[in-house]
Symmetry: C2
Subunit: 337 residues, 2 copies
């Protein structure tokens, strides 16, 4: 299927031949091996030869010899699609992990999970793997562990027994949202539930948190369904004035749905936050310039990055950290609520 490679890469043997030394010497020089005694003259000859041949060590061979694989952190791509503060945190992780000698590799195949996915990820023999709890059940964990992965960190909304877990309790979002709105004097709230199957699990938990807090504080919480199209909220927005217990604030699943909701309200002649407040979550980049700017609930991206990277590096050196909780959620006060 493939055409033959046009160029065969130079090996350390080629460098050795050109420099007139042994292969071992080449390896010593290029890796700055301490304790190896190499004269300044041959050292220079080797470096020159390597430059001349554009020598690049073969990672596969190197990793094989080191009895390891990709020396770094493997992240399956879907993790990156979370958006908002999470994306920002991952960008920070990618930067800092490279500095810490643990370069990050993203495996961009979206559609694998479970044991099948674990087999693919494990074949790279990474030092560390960061993956969603949902995509990594107990058998998959076992596959990764037996493949020698030193640090396996699962990210999910609830703890699981089979591996160290970074718990990002989704109910806290809902609780915090309700509490924040209650503190501003709102008594009648609406929960805008997203009809998107890919986030169904998270959405249900955020909603549960909101319901729990509303019950505890004695507030009403209407349930409304929506999707990414503003028209899905048209009926609700139109009927809003006639509702006998019309809400004064609406909670969206995240900022993107908040945008959509604000749009839908605007299209029916309502103004945010004058007529109704809208609260988002996850602090998407656009929220600070949206009209109105969107008040949101999120963790601090830098704290999250530090937490994840710190946990992983501690696991790599042998510690077994207990359950880790996400950084505290904070309300980022803007105009919409």
């Amino acid at each position: 299927m493939f055409a033959p490679r046009t160029h065969k890469p130079a090996t350390s043997g080629d460098v050795a031949r050109l420099a007139g030394v042994s292969r071992a010497t080449v390896s010593f020089v290029l890796n700055d091996k301490q304790g190896a005694r190499i004269s300044e003259d041959t050292r220079r000859r080797v470096q020159l030869a390597a430059e001349e041949l554009n020598y690049t060590p073969n990672n596969s061979a190197r990793q094989l010899r080191r009895n390891g694989g990709v020396e770094g952190l493997l992240i399956p791509a879907p993790v990156l699609g979370f958006g908002g503060a999470m994306d920002a945190a991952f960008a920070l992780i990618a930067r800092h992990s490279a500095d810490a000698g643990l370069p990050t590799i993203v495996h961009a195949d979206h559609d694998i999970a479970g044991v099948e996915g674990a087999r693919v990820w494990a074949s790279y023999r990474p030092e560390a793997v960061l993956v969603e709890t949902l995509r990594c059940d107990a058998p998959a964990t076992e596959v990764l562990r037996r493949a020698g992965v030193r640090a396996l960190l699962l990210m999910g909304s609830h703890p699981v027994p089979h591996a160290p877990c970074l718990v990002i309790d989704q109910r806290l979002y809902g609780q915090r949202a309700v509490e924040s709105l209650a503190a501003k004097g709102h008594h009648r709230l609406a929960w805008l539930h997203p009809a998107d199957s890919s986030i169904a699990e998270f959405a249900l938990q955020r909603r549960a948190g909101a319901q729990e807090a509303a019950a505890r504080l004695g507030l009403s919480l209407n349930l409304v369904s929506m999707d990414a199209d503003p028209r899905s909220l048209k009926d609700w927005a139109r009927g809003w004035r006639d509702a006998n217990d019309r809400p004064t604030a609406a909670i969206a699943y995240d900022d993107r749905f908040a945008y959509t909701a604000i749009r839908a309200l605007f299209d029916t002649g309502l103004s945010v936050p004058r007529d109704i407040a809208v609260l988002g979550a996850d602090d998407y980049a656009t929220s600070s310039v949206f009209l109105p700017s969107v008040t949101t609930i999120a963790f601090n991206a830098e704290d999250m990055a530090d937490l994840i990277l710190g946990t992983i590096t501690r696991m790599i050196v042998g510690e077994t950290p207990p359950l880790v909780s996400a950084p505290p959620l904070k309300v980022i006060q803007r105009e919409s609520a």
Copy 2:
């Protein structure tokens, strides 16, 4: 520095021992090698043993033997930060490339380029590399080529002689923007120039295209500087009414800057598009729900994905495609302009 690996991964030798056969037999069975005569009985024994041990082939060793490296497409991470339609295109590429037996790996180290970067990327021995022209000069190209990379595609705003190039001519954005606004009857335009060094090159070219088209069509084009903070446009927005030749439309570098501009105009009491139209670019996800929704100029993400993937696969089988031009830009008509 690292603790010893807790588990040594099972090798094909372990599987062979457990199944009571030779290592070669294991390899034949697990790779479904055609032409190898294996009885149904031993085949089953081998598969059972592999399952029992959670055997995962070592990618490094496999790639070393195959005289290749990462069998896939390597993308340095900064390419993914383009945003908008480009991000959408890359998501499509990641999906389709995996289906085509060319899984995509993203190398998430942002701060490398040139020969240094090329050395790192080349060490993975990928089949294909997709990288920005800016990050890959002639010497870097040579390093990659000599490392056996079969398909090297550079993405940039102008063609370069040293490697196949996907040209995304940034001037077309500016031209198209001006033409589109002219067709709607605008005579006095403003170019909102972003003061962000990371996109300086692109911004200058988009601006040049706009200036060229404005001159050709006999329109005026005011130059205004801005950054990500709406306050950077405060003075301009305030002075807008007093300008003797006040513009009726403003062109932003991309949708994100359009959001900021709309925000700044709103903050000084101006309304978009009633008082002034604002045109964006690159079709960011939020643009369709923004208030007002943002009219934008972008290529079609699916067309771009097909183009890139098609070019790369043709290069891999040996063809040398000529210069490739990006798909045509289209105006996505919304409310802001």
